[in-house]
């Protein structure tokens, strides 16, 4: 990282940059445009904007001082973790100050007896899991990006992952947080103990996509490790049979730890990348994991195999060793990485439907794919009804980008019509703002805006996110003065 040079930043007041240097030091800042390119977007690459400066604080006090300075100069600021989010949640709309929390990555405390850990927001999710090995406990939320994503980012987006079916999403595992509020005050909400008097601010703040403030410390719940696993791979000749199987498993009252679907397109890519031995001619595979007590998992696995067979599985394999199980999960979690083999760009959608509507939505996706001539592959959290159609395209071709956007819209609208949601775990960010008024009434959105204004009345913190209304009164200039650019549009 080169040292920040006030002269390089032509868009910020010199006094501001000078004071920023005094807070974090020149080695904890980026101001050169080429160095900041990586911060111009997250995993949602269709809209991009370079911030005016990126700072890397190492303490809560530094974060608070930076926020105070931004308030003084009326500059927008946005927190960022690893940037693996998929809806533009950390897109710096209007430029301004990006507060990157990746240098705040300590595990501050692990308390197994009281079942919690305290971590800094920049800690990579999997590092906590690795740290806990041998204690008999783990941190349950395991998004597919867990090797890179941060727990602060998980807090902001209320991340899920394959094991949410049984264990819940991030909010079910967060006990409290230390927040730097948009007015720079430091407030602790919740904490190591389960209940605090008054409103559940922790529950409300998780998933608020950085619009209520910046979390600088997080108390997370630790979960007892399962004693045993059984991991199954159901192979199907039709997608319809696979989705019907999902519906039947849930309908039978079985709650597996994970229930994931991969269709033929994704199997091909994953097989080419990892050589697991997936049958390339299968229409879909279900990755099913049950966990629990050794005495229980075989029974449950047996019931699931029966259901698979009744609904037309060609074959049900089981992972015979921990190594095989690990490889299966590696294939699933790194499926997105394998997509590069299929096309230069891709856009992952994140809709949700009631689980019984899965056959219907997958048929609809096939039809959309044909109608728009966009190849779509599927790998998703089937047990939750959380679909992830992946639309393959080339972002240099503006006409293709238009078709991708149209196809995405149709799929998400269909999710709403089927009684679902436009996002199960990726968030609204900027990508899905236009859907908010389809999912919610003007009154719903007014109340959400009122809630945001309780914590972020000036709107400088993560402006233009989550709600379709402007950041806050008087914030309309932010986007106009620093328009973002959209891929090939």
């Amino acid at each position: 990282m080169t040292s920040a040079n006030a002269a390089q930043s032509d868009s910020l007041p010199a006094g501001f940059v000078r004071q920023l240097v005094a807070i974090v030091g020149p080695e904890a800042m980026l101001t050169a445009r080429d160095e900041m390119l990586v911060y111009e977007c997250d995993g949602y690459t269709i809209e991009k904007n370079v911030p005016d400066v990126v700072v890397f604080p190492t303490s809560t006090e530094q974060v608070a001082t930076i926020v105070r300075l931004c308030n003084e100069y009326k500059l927008p600021f946005v927190p960022r973790g690893a940037g693996t989010s998929l809806a533009g949640g950390c897109l710096p709309i209007g430029g301004g100050v990006m507060i990157a929390l990746t240098r705040m990555r300590q595990i501050l405390e692990v308390n197994v007896r009281d079942r919690y850990a305290v971590v800094e927001p920049g800690l990579v999710n999997v590092h906590l899991t690795n740290h806990l090995k041998g204690t008999g406990y783990h941190y349950a939320p395991d998004p597919s990006s867990q090797g890179a994503c941060t727990i602060g980012g998980n807090f902001a987006t209320n991340s899920g992952g394959p094991h949410t079916l049984k264990y819940g999403v991030t909010v079910n595992h967060v006990l409290g947080a230390e927040m730097v509020m948009p007015d720079a005050t430091i407030v602790q909400i919740g904490g190591p103990c389960e209940e605090a008097p008054g409103y559940d601010l922790t529950g409300l703040f998780v998933g608020s996509e950085g619009t209520f403030g910046i979390c600088t410390k997080i108390w997370v719940r630790l979960t007892r490790d399962p004693a045993a696993y059984r991991t199954l791979l159901g192979i199907f000749d039709s997608v319809k049979d696979a989705t019907q199987t999902i519906s039947n498993i849930i309908g039978a009252g079985i709650v597996p730890a994970a229930l994931e679907l991969m269709d033929q397109g994704i199997i091909e890519a994953v097989e080419a990348a990892f050589h697991f031995g997936f049958p390339l001619d299968a229409a879909a595979v279900l990755l099913i994991e049950v966990d629990g007590l050794e005495v229980a998992v075989d029974d449950e696995a047996r019931q699931i195999v029966e259901i698979c067979n009744t609904t037309g599985a060609r074959e049900v394999r089981s992972a015979n060793s921990p190594k095989e199980r690990q490889l299966l999960w590696k294939c699933r979690k790194q499926a997105f990485g394998a997509i590069g083999r299929l096309s230069p760009s891709y856009c992952t959608q994140d809709g949700v439907v009631p689980r019984t509507k899965l056959p219907e939505i997958l048929e609809f996706i096939t039809a959309v794919s044909a109608r728009h001539n966009i190849r779509i592959v599927n790998v998703f959290h089937a047990g939750d009804g959380n679909i992830h159609p992946i639309l393959l395209f080339d972002e240099r071709d503006s006409e293709q980008v238009q078709r991708v956007l149209a196809a995405s819209d149709e799929i998400l609208n269909r999710c709403i019509d089927l009684g679902g949601s436009v996002t199960g775990e990726h968030g609204i960010g900027v990508e899905k703002i236009s859907f908010m008024s389809r999912m919610f009434s003007p009154a719903d959105l007014e109340v959400m805006a009122a809630v945001r204004d309780a914590f972020n009345p000036g709107g400088l913190c993560s402006p233009m996110k989550m709600l379709p209304t402007a950041g806050a009164c008087g914030m309309e200039h932010i986007e106009r003065s620093h328009p973002g650019r959209k891929a090939a549009l």
Binding site: G136, Y199, L204, V295, G424, V447, A454
Partner: protein
């Protein structure tokens, strides 16, 4: 005394609230089954009790999706009966379940023993409709089990005691009813032996869903009310296991062998036909009856036994959901003034402070309430709560007695 209004529909409720806000601006006291109305601060100025008990419809029960959408006034007992037809349940322990309404349970964040293994209301409420103080009907969440669109106002309303909005409809995520559920009842000569057991059970091979500790007095009350004939008048650790018959049998055996080295005075598996009676007695304990004061403390699980010992020595009767660090306590009837109550509670508050927990006075004589710090020590986050309240109820009409400020 407050007048009462019981709307028959959500629309009627909305209209009434908005007319009230635009007109006379009566304080509004939302009420469900009235099982928690005596909780919290002393009654506010006279106003209108807004009863949700006319809103009882099941709106949508797609049981194969394991979700249900109902109106807020449905009684918990009735809801359980509907869910059991599909082998499903909402696994929250609710006192006075035949009277308590679902909306009230959400607003008061009621819960009991099984919170350790199965969570609390916030883990099950996935969608909500509510009416704010101006009569604005709003919703959040939805009807699918995974959804991050918009702010999670479900979490905001759970435990908000009707101060932000009147809940009118709820969508719940459900669980299957297990094939079998059994209690293991272990009596000990000394409380401290239980602390050693709890530390051991941190890495138990079994997965109990409830881990309750009772002091001798509470054990006596609970066994008497369950008419179970279980050993009482000694500290008790009781554990609930659930699953298939095979699973519960294995867990009961495993737990007994894990606990045995700590020399329990007695250890017995509660008869299957008494499972519900014991569960219900444990759940009703938190309400108390004619005790002068009832509190709920939330502290580090590892400090629970120390807390119980201290409180028990002072004459309280206590039940701890020990895995969660949540303790329900009743003060003895020898405490006859707010000053005496304050004095008794102070050393308990010290324990709670030292682990960053809380101690909330839930119920006591109305006349005492103004003289006691019901919510415990003021906390900086209360300022955020007051701001939130101001945004959603600027005129301070909904349960105005709740202020997030101690008297």
């Amino acid at each position: 005394m407050s007048d009462e209004f019981q709307p028959a529909t959500q629309t009627e409720l909305c209209r009434w609230v908005s007319e009230n806000a635009a007109g006379v601006r009566h304080p509004i006291y939302p009420a469900g089954g009235r099982t928690a109305l005596d909780c919290g601060p002393a009654a506010g100025p006279s106003g209108i009790t807004l009863a949700t008990t006319g809103l009882t419809k099941v709106l949508d029960y797609p049981s194969r999706d394991m979700t249900i959408t109902v109106e807020a006034g449905i009684r918990i007992g009735e809801l359980a009966a509907v869910l059991s037809t599909a082998g499903q349940r909402l696994p929250i322990d609710v006192p006075h379940a035949h009277r308590a309404t679902l909306g009230g349970v959400a607003a008061a964040n009621a819960g009991g023993s099984r919170r350790f293994g199965l969570g609390t209301m916030r883990d099950y409420l996935i969608g909500v409709s509510a009416v704010d103080a101006t009569g604005r009907l709003f919703k959040a969440g939805g009807r699918v089990v995974k959804n991050v669109a918009g702010y999670d106002l479900c979490k905001m309303l759970v435990g908000s005691f009707g101060t932000l909005a009147v809940i009118t409809q709820l969508t719940l995520k459900l669980r299957p009813i297990p094939e079998s559920a059994r209690w293991l009842w272990c009596a000990f000569d000394h409380l401290w032996a239980i602390e050693h057991v709890l530390a051991r059970l941190t890495t138990s091979a079994a997965r109990p869903v409830a881990l309750d500790v009772l002091d001798g007095r509470a054990a006596g009350d609970i066994t008497a009310s369950a008419e179970s004939g279980l050993p009482s008048n000694r500290p008790v650790l009781c554990l609930l296991v659930e699953g298939t018959g095979h699973e519960t049998a294995w867990q009961l055996e495993t737990l007994q062998s894990e606990i045995k080295p700590f020399s329990p005075h007695s250890m017995e598996i509660v008869n299957a036909n008494q499972t519900d009676a014991v569960a219900s007695a444990l759940t009703e304990f938190q309400i108390g009856s004619d005790d002068p004061l009832t509190f709920k403390a939330s502290l580090a699980p590892s400090r629970t036994i120390e807390f119980i010992e201290r409180a028990s020595d002072a004459g309280c009767s206590l039940q701890a959901h020990a895995g969660s660090g949540v303790v329900h306590g009743h003060l003895p009837d020898t405490v006859t003034s707010p000053l005496a109550a304050r004095t008794l509670l102070e050393p308990l508050r010290d324990i709670v402070r030292s682990c960053r927990g809380s101690l909330v006075i839930e119920r006591c004589d109305e006349a005492w309430k103004a003289e006691l710090p019901l919510l415990g020590d003021p906390h900086p986050s209360w300022a955020l709560m007051r701001r939130l309240k101001k945004q959603l109820d600027p005129q301070g009409l909904l349960n105005p007695q709740y202020t997030f400020e101690n008297p």
